[in-house]
Symmetry: C2
Subunit: 138 residues, 2 copies
DNA sequence: ACAAGTACTTACCCTAAAGTATGTATCATC
DNA sequence: GATGATACATACTTTAGGGTAAGTACTTGT
């Protein structure tokens, strides 16, 4: 176990929260701005690096690979590289990553409803939502 | 919400993504580490400031009120203050905030399953998942 | 010969977010 | 009259994340 200094009560508390709050668990793995967006675009299936880059406008290459590597290290995506030139690298979700589909779907769903409720509907439907979502009982 | 400079093309792209990707929409409102955790703890119903502070260990007071104010400004929580001494302030979810319940639930669900799949089960069940409080019309 | 495409890498900078610490108003009680 | 509780506020510092720009390796196309 990691040793913790007496003075750092916050880190201790964070540890406790991590063990008790499932949402904290999630945030530790897909927290931040970009990761959910990247994962969302991978729901449709494996994509080349360049495809992801196009699908996620606004992200810089540095930040993109940075997160892709992190997601790979966290066992959420799998990187597959064909030893060809020019490089052909694809990324796809692991089983664990696939498990996030309901999360993404719930998010997308809320975005539609909430933007409508705000009087500024931005997304007509979820017709273009990647593939069949398994609806978990809520 | 956010002010945008002309010259930055990435910001333009971010705008485009905002209009096309529902997950981006969500991230703009509850992105970051703390907000989902705070919202999760408010699912159970209205809580006093001090209660939230206890429920979300690891967060500093500064960051907590900062996010609470932001969430209030984004119409996700409602602040109610009784003019008494000592102060009695409660926070509760708006209808919009309540709409995030499926998102939270999906997250919590994934945390349980994923931690089990990892061989390090951290949360036995979702028995303690915040029940639906009386739905207040807002 | 040289540009173009692919999937990165590296170096440097800058800002926004978060952490630390202390202060404030009001009243109750000890 | 000092202390504690509550719900913040404010100043200051640090850190992590993100942005800009340029480079790399290797081959195909012109």
């Amino acid at each position: 176990m990691t040793q913790i200094k007496e003075a750092s009560t916050i880190q201790e508390n964070k540890q406790a929260a991590f063990k008790e709050c499932p949402v904290t668990y999630v945030m530790e793995r897909i927290g931040g701005y970009w990761k959910p967006i990247i994962l969302f675009h991978l729901l449709a299936g494996s994509k080349r690096y360049s495809e992801i880059k196009k699908a996620v406008p606004g992200i810089t290459e540095k930040v993109l690979i940075q997160h892709l590597k992190q997601l790979e290290a966290d066992n959420l995506v799998i990187r597959e590289a064909r030893p060809v030139v020019p490089p052909y690298v694809t990324y796809r979700l692991t089983v664990s990553g696939m498990g996030l589909r309901p999360v993404m779907y719930a998010m997308a769903n809320w975005a539609v409803e909430d933007s409508e409720a705000n009087g500024t509907p931005m997304y007509k439907s979820l017709g273009n939502f990647p593939e069949t979502p398994k609806l978990a009982a809520v």
